[in-house]
Amino acid sequence: MANLLYLIRRVLQAVVVILIVTVVVFCLLHALPGGPARGILGPQATAQQIAQFNHEQGLDKPLPVQYVYYLRTLLHGDLGTSYTLNEGVSQLIAQRLPKTLVLTVLSAVVGLALAVPLGMWQAVRRNKPTDYVITTLSFVAYSTPVYFLGLILVLVFTQLLPWFPSQAPQGDSLGQVFADSNALVLPVIAGATSMVAVFSRYMRAATLENLSEDYVRTARAGGSRQRAILWRHVFRNSLTPVVAMLGYYVPVLFGGSLVVEQLFNYPGMGLLFWSAAQSSDYPVLLGCVLVISVATVVGTLLADILQRIIDPRVKAGTS
């Protein structure tokens, strides 16, 4: 019951957030120089051509009316038509989104799988040389722009050591993408690196905090050994706040995919967005922003729910 109520409240919150996002996107749409018309008709278009375009597209109505129109078309799953590709934005995104999800989810899984043990190991070896070395490395990993990192990866692993291709899988279906798994290695490394840096720091902090908790002392007083305490108790307790952070990290992951896809020529949403930006294809740009934001909100929601599964206290609403 409490769970259901929580879920309902949380979903309502998400809906409010998405509505605010649509307002932002709508405002961006109208912040375009000369409106959307100028963008598509080009600088040579006459005022008359623009006026006609605006009339055809319903762009001469008052803003609130346009917003309602806009929302109504959104509810029908219609994100407009690409100016340059002559295809529905929804269709374009539907083709590309799964690929981006594959990349981001893989990066997140790889990143977490490395970061969690690394952070715990650092906490246990706190202030020893290994801790300092890993801390320094994670600062460096965090501070390296992804495109610079990608460049180094390509130079090292495709030119110096020709182990991996410099292009991500190009296949249309997910099956083809997975079949070319070798080509996924570099993009996933590029996407996961900063995540390893950030989450190993979180995990280190959370582990240190938990190691000083009273329950660790109780377990030691009961004769439990360090290793058992670490894996049976500290690990799970430290993971809870880290999972909570995962929700906030979702937008960063998507932001990263924008650069990674462009670097490795991976035909996901990031690349679609990128080329749309080059050709001022506003419907595609704003459609992508909207979909990515909704994906982020949903991702955050999932992380919240995951946290409640791990931590019984949150479930009961006493925490």
């Binding site: 019951m1 409490a2 109520l5 908790e213 009273d214 329950y215 002392r217 109780t218 377990a219 030691r220 007083a221 009961g222 004769g223 439990s224 050994r225 360090q226 058992a228 049976r232 108790h233 799970r236 307790n237 809870t240 791990i310 931590d311 019984p312 206290r313 009961a316 609403g317 006493t318 925490s319």
Partner: protein, 569 residues
């Protein structure tokens, strides 16, 4: 279970022997010796209470006896459990002893258990740390242990998470973990300090019977002389890292030799109790003399909305009149602090009315409201959180002057601050110090000075001394009563400590679960309670006299079990 069964494994001689034990902590500011030259023995089946005030090193001794000292501590001398030396023993070997030869119960049941592991699993873990037996077997034993420590419906409770249990039940679980491998030594570090008195009495009864059944030696660390009188066979008194006096509980509590012990016992507020069976004198409320200062009328408070809403107060009526002190007592969650906050206007009642100095607090706004509130002084419980660490003592005390006497010159303000600091018996030199440099007692006096700087007509004190040592508490309370005599302010005094309230307040209001359970003059109400609840509350308070306490305990245990809630506190 017989005594013989358990004592076979322990050889003759003391279970715990500390010889010339010293502990030094390495800190940012250099080495700090915490314990020096401590020697004591505990025989099988014997309970030794290690008493002292905060900073005396008593908890450090307990941790040393478990080999659980933190990394920055260095131990010298000898600490032997059942003949095995702990100091210098490698961690892996110590782990083999902990939970088997000696085990420990901690002060804070709220944090002592892993919040994400089911309690049955936590107990089973301790069992399997020392004995090789199948998981299912260990789980069954865990349920059995839960039953032994008085958890109702143990099969089902074993699958509960700690947060689903009350504080007393959690402490029972910690005790179950401690006795899981029948240790010969049980170390209990302030095991009941975080609990309400009625729960404290039950936990002490449980520990006593478990120790007696198994012939376990107990090292009880506590600051509470009543608990000592209730539980200990022998007592060791610690002062600044050293033991200053040792003896049987009767010797130390009734005929103390060392000056410090005498001073300590002198400072303990003693609950005056009627001899069991004495007839109640004429009960009833004495009509208060002066005008009403603050009045709550049929106040209800509800926190939150929907199904999670909590009814914090229901129909509470409470008045304080000029010049008198009203004690507001009750266990945790009884709503006493909420009632005080309603009186201060910090919490809005959902029903009922609040009047301050004869004016309806909810109707007054703006300047009028502020003028009204200028007549109120406040002292809250936490000496650390009560003062802004970024301000000097003088700034803290002067804050009400800035709020209400904006036109005062800085010289006048300084004079007023120094005057009031003197009245709470703090040296003027403290005025420019930061709160962090002060002791807990000094901080509470600063809070008191701040509360009195405007010469209020009402002082609201919410557990003002419960974070302080008894000797400091006595001094602070003395200052409050002196100043009350001098200025004649009324006082609403919230406390969980019946003995303090008995000494300090003329009238008392007993609260329970958000309602007023009983009210009356302190003398009659606390000596001859009119309700079962208050009677149980009074009976649960341990008095620092072993002979009297033994009689009281017997009387309490004989009392019809109807009122007692097994372990379902």
């Amino acid at each position: 279970m017989t005594t013989a069964e358990k004592t076979t494994q322990a050889p003759t001689g003391p279970i715990l022997r500390l010889t010339d034990l010293g502990v030094t902590f390495t800190t940012e500011t250099g080495d700090v010796p915490a314990v020096r030259g401590v020697r004591l023995d505990i025989a099988p089946g014997e309970t030794l209470a290690l008493v002292g005030e905060s900073g005396s090193g008593k908890s450090t001794v307990a941790l040393a006896a478990m080999g659980l000292l933190p990394g920055n501590a260095r131990a010298t001398g000898s600490a032997a459990v059942g003949g095995r030396e702990l100091i210098g023993t490698p961690e892996a070997e110590l782990a083999g002893l902990r939970g088997r030869a000696a085990s420990m119960v901690f002060q804070e049941p709220a944090t002592a258990l892993d919040p994400l592991t089911r309690i049955g699993a936590q107990i089973a873990e301790v069992i399997r740390n020392h004995r090789t037996l199948p998981a299912r077997e260990a789980a069954r034993e865990a349920v059995e242990l839960l039953r032994r420590v008085g958890i109702p419906d143990p099969e089902q409770r074993a699958t509960a998470f700690p947060f689903q249990l009350s504080g007393g039940q959690r402490q029972r679980v910690v005790i179950a973990m401690a006795i899981a491998n029948s240790p010969s030594l049980l170390i209990a570090d302030e095991p009941t300090t975080a609990l309400d008195v009625t729960v404290q009495a039950e936990i002490l009864d449980l520990l006593r019977s478990l120790a007696a059944d198994a012939g376990t030696g107990v090292l009880l660390v506590t600051h509470n002389m009543g608990v000592v009188a209730d539980f200990a066979d022998r007592v060791a008194v610690m002062l600044e890292g050293e033991i200053v006096e040792t003896g049987t509980v009767e010797e130390v509590l009734l005929r103390p030799r060392h000056a410090y012990t005498k001073r300590l016992l002198g400072a303990v507020p003693r609950l005056a109790v009627a001899e069991p069976g004495a007839a109640p004198a004429g009960a009833g409320e004495t009509p208060p003399a002066g005008d009403e200062v603050v009045g709550l009328r049929e106040v209800s408070v509800r926190f939150g909305r929907g199904p999670r809403a909590v009814q914090a107060l229901s129909d509470v009526t409470l008045t304080v009149h000029a010049g008198e002190t009203v004690g507001l007592v009750g266990e945790s969650g009884s709503g006493k602090s909420t009632a005080a906050r309603v009186a201060l206007g910090l919490v809005q009642p959902s029903a009922g009315s609040v009047s301050l100095f004869g004016t309806d607090l909810r109707r007054s706004r703006g300047r009028a409201r502020r003028a009204l509130l200028a007549g109120v002084g406040v002292v809250l419980q936490d000496p650390v959180a009560s003062l802004d660490a970024r301000m000097s003592v003088a700034e803290c005390v002067a804050e009400p002057l800035y709020v209400h006497r904006g036109r005062m010159t800085s010289a006048e303000r300084r004079a007023r601050v120094e005057d009031v600091l003197e009245r709470v018996r703090l040296p003027r030199a403290l005025a420019n110090r930061a709160p962090r440099e002060l002791s807990g007692g000094q901080r509470q006096r600063v809070s008191l000075a701040r509360a009195l700087v405007l010469e209020p007509r009402l002082l609201v004190a919410d557990e003002p001394t419960s974070a302080l040592d008894v000797s400091v508490q006595a001094a602070v309370l003395e200052v409050v009563s002196e100043l009350q005599d001098e200025f004649g302010f009324a006082c609403l005094f919230v406390s969980h400590d019946l003995a303090v309230v008995q000494h300090f307040a003329q009238r008392v209001v007993v609260m329970r679960a958000g309602r007023v359970e009983e009210r009356g003059s302190t003398a009659t109400t606390l000596l001859h309670p009119g309700t079962d609840y208050t009677r149980r509350l009074v009976a649960a308070v341990p008095v620092p006299d072993p002979v009297l306490q033994r009689r009281r305990r017997a009387a309490r245990q004989e009392a019809p079990a109807a009122g007692r809630t097994a372990a379902g506190e």
